[in-house]
């Protein structure tokens, strides 16, 4: 059963990364590479290319958004115990025995990083959906995409920081984390 659950977490993490690449890389390409390629064309041709690319990209954004949310929930469930556990600060044992003494701190550090990642990630997904909803793009679509790209980069940074803090906590207090490793 553990193997099955661990397999599910691995697949969820893999899909989470792949969907992130679709959103980030697609946005980057749409916003930075396509305008350079079509700058010499007439304006109506430029608009037509942007509209057709948006039409195809929309399906990718929708599939990626749904998968990101689903896999994010699965991965979070796998790590939930670590995110909600308060942080323990180890003190040297007062005697030569193997007993370790820890003082519980009120701050669940990796949990806070996770919350920042999840909330900014949700915001980025909402902006991506908003940009591809409807028949016409919103005003200033390139500026919106640029903003979303910056938010997505922050989201990835927060995910990396969450992982680093979680690993540091595992290093400091392995007993707390002797459950299936999650996503």
């Amino acid at each position: 059963m553990d193997t099955l659950i661990n397999g599910l977490y691995m697949v969820a993490r893999y899909l989470h990364i792949v969907c992130t690449t679709l959103l980030v890389g697609g946005t980057l390409f749409y916003e930075m590479v396509v305008p350079i390629a079509i700058e010499d064309l007439k304006e109506e041709h430029q608009l037509s290319i942007f509209a057709r690319a948006r039409w195809v990209f929309r399906r990718i954004v929708w599939v990626a958004a749904i998968t990101l949310i689903a896999t994010g929930v699965i991965s979070s469930a796998g790590h939930w115990a670590k995110y909600t556990a308060s942080q323990a600060i180890r003190l040297p044992a007062p005697t030569t025995s193997t007993t370790q003494v820890s003082v519980e701190s009120a701050s669940p550090r990796s949990g806070w990083w996770w919350a920042a990642h999840a909330s900014t990630g949700g915001l980025a997904v909402l902006i991506a959906l908003f940009l591809t909803l409807g028949k016409r793009p919103p005003d200033h679509p390139i500026q919106w995409m640029r903003l979303n790209l910056v938010i997505l980069l922050i989201v990835i940074f927060l995910a990396t920081a969450t992982r680093q803090v979680r690993i540091n906590e595992t290093d400091r207090n392995p007993a707390r984390h002797q459950q299936p490793t999650g996503g």
């Binding site: 690449t21 290319i49 990835i156 290093d171």
Partner: protein, 166 residues
């Protein structure tokens, strides 16, 4: 203080690695599947010119990405090397590195010259599949590493006694 800086460097290096992978994989998918449909209504000449300009811009991104991948990947591996489980971890790391080298070679070859052929499109698809495998290997490596860290840790006993108790 040194610990905080090292932690920040570890996070930054991983961020660069993931961000670069996102830019390359997403860009390749966009270029292979979305752009050709977007350029559909253009005439043959305009389409070829637009594709070539796009390829030139993407080439700069891909070549920079290869440098960033090697630099950040080397640092990440240096930090994590001792934590990889011997056997499965090192094997998975080897798979990841070999796949990465194959991807770099194909990417460099794909952007040589000025003509895009059907063969290039096929190899772009192959490179995308290899990138998917490289991400899967990295993901499995991370899983193996975290499992090894937890398994190798001695079971800690958290005392419930008063701190002043000898």
């Amino acid at each position: 203080m040194a610990g905080v800086i090292l932690d920040f460097l570890a996070v930054f290096s991983r961020w660069v690695h993931v961000m670069t992978a996102c830019a390359v994989i997403g860009g390749l998918i966009f270029m292979r599947f979305i752009v050709p449909r977007g350029l559909g209504p253009l005439g043959e000449g305009d389409r070829r010119d637009a594709m070539l300009r796009m390829r030139r811009a993407f080439k700069i991104l891909v070549h920079s990405a290869i440098v960033l991948f090697i630099a950040s990947g080397t640092y990440n591996a240096y930090l994590a090397w001792d934590k990889y489980p011997r056997g499965s971890g090192h094997a998975m790391f080897g798979v990841h590195v070999v796949l990465a080298l194959m991807i770099f070679a194909i990417a460099i070859w794909l952007f040589l010259g000025e003509v895009v052929t059907a063969k290039h499109r096929r190899w772009m698809l192959i490179n995308l599949l290899l990138l998917g495998c490289a991400v899967a290997a990295a993901s499995s490596l991370k899983f193996l590493r975290e499992r090894a860290m937890i398994r190798s840790a001695p079971p800690a006993v958290i005392a419930t006694q008063n701190l002043t108790t000898p």
